[in-house]
């Protein structure tokens, strides 16, 4: 028995939030310049109390480099993990995630096209600039989703439909990847190394004001996904079952697809298409907290933040002062972990 209680959901979420804070404290400490824990806490306290920091170099690193980056990594990880969990339930397929479905790659195409044409369109500063890059990424993501649906969504029969969507996603993702590389190499980009990093998934670029828009999209998107959580539970049992049990399946599907793509687009515009977060985090969280989306979604949201934060901390400290793109770490951990999961559960992920 043991029906899912609100207390358990809140308890689990708060415990994970505590873990996230712990991970953030570790991450503050680690890096090419070490900031001892007590020092960082003292600096944060002074800042909160409005005391002058006298341009202390540690304070500059803490507030302009490390904390924004910790925030960015958490935001990106949370969004990708939650989108992945939602896609897996929606398509009833354990392999579904924003990366496999081509949503991330589509979003990166949107971002690249934007970065090539932004200057000529006059998007250089001001409010329009804030929205334009995430909006371009979302547009790329949405167009890809539409294309994936057009190619793979012909048959809407429960099982078969989702297989075809995944296959269509994989094919389109590789196609769009080539377009991305073509666009980048044919347009004389100055910062090829930076772009190469970003394509793998990189959080080392300075955080600009567009992070505010991205944050709002991610938090609001998560809230909407959460409202769909019980419907997603029922859809995970099959669309006919969900219809029988009173779910407006078409509306939920469209809503989840739209919101998850919006969240993916928003974070890809700042962090690049980081692989495996949307795939691995939902599976680990499902093993720990069960498959009920009402607890899984909040759990995976924080879990994804912790996972990505730790991965990014490794990425920037392993070969310090040289930094790896975080996508390298997530793939290095993610792929073997995924193979292990496949084996451990006898192919039933």
């Amino acid at each position: 028995m043991n029906r899912l209680s609100r207390t358990r959901i809140i308890g689990t979420s708060l415990s994970l939030l505590a873990l996230w804070i712990l991970a953030a404290l570790v991450s503050i400490n680690v890096g090419s310049v070490r900031i001892p824990l007590l020092t960082s806490l003292r600096l944060v306290k002074s800042r909160l109390l409005g005391e002058a920091l006298d341009g202390s170099p540690l304070a500059v690193i803490l507030f302009s480099v490390r904390l924004p980056r910790i925030f960015l990594a958490s935001l990106v990880g949370a969004a990708l993990a939650a989108a992945g969990a939602a896609f897996q339930s929606l398509l009833r397929n354990p392999l579904a995630d924003p990366y496999v479905l081509g949503v991330s790659t589509g979003a990166s195409m949107g971002t690249i096209v934007y970065s090539i044409f932004a200057a000529s369109l006059g998007f250089t500063a001001g409010a329009s600039f804030l929205y334009a890059r995430p909006a371009a990424a979302f547009l790329g993501a949405a167009l890809t989703v539409a294309a994936v649906y057009a190619v793979g969504g012909g048959s809407m029969r429960a099982g078969e439909g989702s297989q075809r969507l995944l296959l269509a996603g994989i094919v389109l993702a590789s196609f769009i990847s080539s377009i991305n590389v073509f666009l980048l190499t044919s347009t004389n980009q100055a910062d090829l190394r930076g772009i190469f990093y970003w394509l793998i998934g990189d959080l080392s670029r300075p955080v600009d004001a567009s992070i505010l828009v991205v944050t709002i999209v991610v938090l609001a998107g998560f809230a909407v996904l959460y409202l769909f959580s019980h419907s997603l539970n029922l859809i995970a049992m099959g669309e006919t079952s969900a219809l029988i049990l009173g779910v407006e399946v078409a509306r939920v599907k469209a809503g989840v697809y739209l919101v998850a793509s919006l969240m993916t687009g928003a974070v890809v515009s700042v962090g690049g298409p980081i692989a495996y977060i949307g795939l691995i985090c939902p599976h680990l969280a499902r093993m720990l907290f069960g498959s009920d989306n009402r607890i899984l979604l909040p759990a995976v949201f924080v879990f994804g933040a912790i996972f990505t934060l730790l991965a990014d901390t490794l990425a920037r400290s392993l070969f310090s002062p040289t930094e790896l793109p975080v996508g390298v770490i997530t793939a290095l951990c993610g792929a073997p972990l995924f193979i292990y999961l496949l084996h451990r559960r006898g192919g039933k992920v």
């Binding site: 028995m1 029906r3 899912l4 209680s5 609100r6 339930s89 009833r92 429960a158 099982g159 959460y226 409202l227 959580s229 019980h230 539970n233 029922l234 995970a236 049992m237 099959g238 006919t240 079952s241 219809l243 029988i244 049990l245 009173g246 779910v247 407006e248 399946v249 499902r286 498959s291 009920d292 009402r294």
Partner: protein
């Protein structure tokens, strides 16, 4: 709402539906309270499609399905339909494994708020449904450990947890051995009387339906060929027309027919 036995609860009028070709043509059927209606028809005659139309999952190209007291299904939201009509689908599947109890409790969904938090009352209703289908002792077991027959009973339990007035059952007894078939049909007939449900059971087992159903509808190529009491409808001429086979139909002492195909 209390209904008299025999009062029509669900009525389909002149339904038409096509995929590439017409599947359902001028389909009319009534389902009365407190009675089991059996539906018999050859493979591909559109029985499952008809069931999906009756549950409002498919939209008819013409005609309406009316729920007495609530109006045409077309004007109702899925939730409102699911509180009134439960369906046991032909192949229920489980993707993310869960316990028998939680699976059955999904039947409460149409009665819950958006986030679907269940109350003690919902647990009680679910427990009762599991008791009726004799699944209480598997309550905490994962659904994947159940046998075929137990899974069918679980789908029925989930439908019972919906506390609907109409119960649509699609091929529930397929793939079950004869003792399970009889057990399930007896259960459905008993629940139909106890809860005054309007029940429709699709099955290939003519004798099973002839024994447990009050009414029978014969379906052929998307049309209801005949609907009436078992004695009226299950006869040699109708069956021969339906299946293109000769049958011997013998009346038993309780007035129920016994049907046997003539194979040579």
């Amino acid at each position: 709402m209390t209904r008299c036995r025999g009062e029509i609860i669900l009525e389909a009028q002149g339904l038409e539906f096509s995929y590439a070709n017409p599947v359902i043509r001028d389909f009319s059927l009534t389902l009365p309270a407190g009675m089991v209606t059996g539906m018999i028809g050859p493979n591909g005659s559109g029985k499952t499609t008809a069931l999906r139309l009756l549950d409002g999952i498919l939209r008819p190209a013409a005609g309406t399905v009316i729920f007495t007291g609530a109006g045409p299904l077309l004007h109702l939201r899925r939730r409102e339909i699911a509180r009134r009509i439960a369906m046991v689908p032909q192949n229920g599947t489980v993707y993310f494994d869960q316990t028998v109890f939680h699976f059955a409790m999904q039947g409460r969904s149409p009665h819950l708020s958006l986030l679907g938090f269940e109350s003690e009352l919902d647990e009680e209703v679910t427990l009762r449904a599991l008791e009726m289908t004799q699944l209480t002792r598997y309550m905490d077991a994962p659904v994947s450990t159940l046998s075929g027959g137990e899974k069918q009973r679980l789908l029925l339990a989930r439908a019972l947890a919906q506390e609907s007035e109409v119960l649509l059952v699609d091929e529930l007894t397929a793939n079950l051995d004869i003792s399970f078939q009889i057990e399930l049909m007896r259960l459905i007939a008993r629940i139909t009387r106890e809860r005054n449900l309007a029940t429709l059971v699709v099955s290939h087992e003519i004798n099973l339906l002839a024994t447990f159903a009050d009414n029978v509808a014969l379906m052929e190529a998307g049309i209801i060929l005949a609907q009436g009491t078992v004695a009226e409808v299950v006869n040699r001429a109708n069956l021969k027309h339906l299946f293109g086979l000769d049958f011997t139909v013998r009346m038993l002492s309780d007035g129920k027919p016994e049907v046997l195909p003539v194979i040579n």
